[in-house]
């Protein structure tokens, strides 16, 4: 299962630090923004899906209620857990009415926050795959299976495309050659892992600026490969 990605929108630098460290230690991938406008832009970005948004209510530029309302208006159903120092009932009701999924009052207990995060992620719909994925100057359009580099089309074979997709879907993870072989080529394959290496060389030649020093498709010696885009 891919790592859950959490967007943390919080303007208090201290909390940004402690929450980010804690969430990362729990195995989540964390991105953060410290005002409402950039938080909204990130939460509704077409190329960067999140599994959960941890949203402070009192934010500069745009408050958390507005951010959540806008997200829902734009059809973003990513679960939202609101964090606030305001404990009044009215705020809780407002938050939930405009589409937040849960609400936590500061100061909170870390285990409670983590339990709520987990619960929301369990309930969360599979994050919708965005249509386009971009890394470096490379753009992958999943719908049309078109790949371009610096605006120029790149021809990939069906297998190379599947391999690239698998790497991107598992970005950040080290994937053993055997897994790539069984997942991309199929379980009953007669091939050996050398096939994987050969395809990786081809992919690098097509995508990397300098295939000898790859930036995206990285060999993890003795283990397999990792996508670093």
């Amino acid at each position: 299962m891919p790592v859950s990605r959490i967007l943390l929108v919080e303007d208090e630098p201290g909390l940004l630090l402690t929450l980010t460290d804690r969430l990362i230690s729990q195995g989540y991938e964390v991105a953060s923004e410290s005002d409402g406008e950039s938080g909204l832009a990130r939460a509704t970005s077409p190329t960067e899906p999140f599994d959960l948004v941890l949203l402070d209510v009192m934010l500069p530029k745009k408050n958390g209620f507005e951010v959540c309302r806008k997200m829902r208006q734009e059809g973003r159903m990513t679960p939202v857990l609101m964090l606030t120092a305001k404990g009044q009932l009215n705020d809780k009701v407002t938050g939930l009415k405009i589409g937040a999924d849960d609400y936590l009052t500061k100061p909170f207990e870390m285990p409670e926050l983590l339990a709520r995060v987990e619960a929301l992620l369990r309930r969360a719909p599979e994050r919708p795959s965005p249509q386009v994925f971009q890394f470096g100057t490379i753009r992958v359009d999943w719908k049309t299976a078109a790949v371009s580099k610096g605006g120029q089309p790149v021809e990939l074979s069906a297998r190379e495309f599947q391999l690239l997709k698998y790497l991107i879907d598992h970005r950040g993870e080290t994937i053993p050659r055997e897994d790539l072989l069984s997942k991309v080529w199929g379980y009953d394959t007669q091939m050996n892992t050398r096939t994987v290496d050969v395809h990786m060389v081809w992919l690098r030649q097509k995508l990397e600026d300098n295939p000898r020093y790859p930036e995206f498709i990285i060999t993890m010696r003795g283990f397999g490969y990792r996508f670093g885009g």
Binding site: E12, L15, L17, T18, D21, R22, S25, A85, K106
Partner: protein, 222 residues
């Protein structure tokens, strides 16, 4: 009044508390990498300081409001009051240029040194918080039977529509709320009360170049 107090203050107290608690939990649970423990220490120290200052401010406010704040009036020089305020605001003024404009040969004022110095600290803190954060000017000059202590900044100044409210307890300007600038909304009301208890008054105006200038007038020693 009491509900305003609870609503305004509880939010401000909860924020540093959340930071301290979450930092403590991360440290206790071994979540913090060794090279980050110093960061965490500084964070807890700074948030603790912020909390202490707030509690101090709230207690002073409660004392002044209930009329039970103890004052000890004595003759004290303007420069001593200013130096004490600057010294106690050291952390706030760390990266701030402080310009001093103190008239020479000023007579002493009759004042409770700790209260007036604390008022000046409030004005200095506000000037840094709502000004440009880089520059403040402290002034002292004779105005008839008073010494006027003033603090000026280079911020956007006070919204003229809000000028008459800034000294009211719990009042916070629209811009401060929108920009999420932390504050209890009691500092200036405290300054006003203390000035009045001394037989003085407060004043606010925007300077020609735009920044705000807050002042407190205290009677000279007779």
């Amino acid at each position: 009044m009491q509900m305003d107090f609870v609503a305004g203050v509880s939010h401000e107290l909860r924020t540093p508390l959340s930071v301290i608690r979450s930092a403590g939990e991360n440290l206790a649970d071994g979540v913090v990498a060794a090279d980050k423990t110093a960061n965490y220490g500084a964070l807890v120290r700074d948030e603790g300081r912020r909390l202490s200052n707030m509690v101090e401010q709230i207690l002073r406010f409660a004392g002044v409001e209930s009329g039970r704040a103890p004052y000890t009036f004595a003759a004290v020089s303007a420069s001593k009051l200013i130096e004490r305020a600057l010294e106690e605001s050291r952390a706030t003024l760390e990266n701030v240029v402080v310009e001093k404009q103190i008239q020479e040969a000023l007579p002493n004022v009759m004042a409770d040194e700790s209260s007036i110095s604390h008022c000046l600290q409030n004005l200095l803190g506000n000037a840094v918080k709502y000004g440009d954060g880089k520059w403040v000017r402290v002034e002292a000059a004779r105005q008839g039977a008073f010494i006027e202590f003033a603090v000026a900044d280079r911020g956007p100044g006070v919204d003229p529509a809000e000028k008459r409210n800034v000294f009211n307890p719990f009042f916070r300007g629209k811009k401060a709320i929108n920009d999420q600038i932390h504050g209890l909304g009691i500092g200036l009301s405290l300054v006003k009360r203390v000035a009045e208890t001394h037989g003085g008054r407060v004043n606010v105006r925007n300077q020609p170049d735009g920044g705000a200038r807050f002042s407190i007038l205290i009677p000279v020693e007779e």
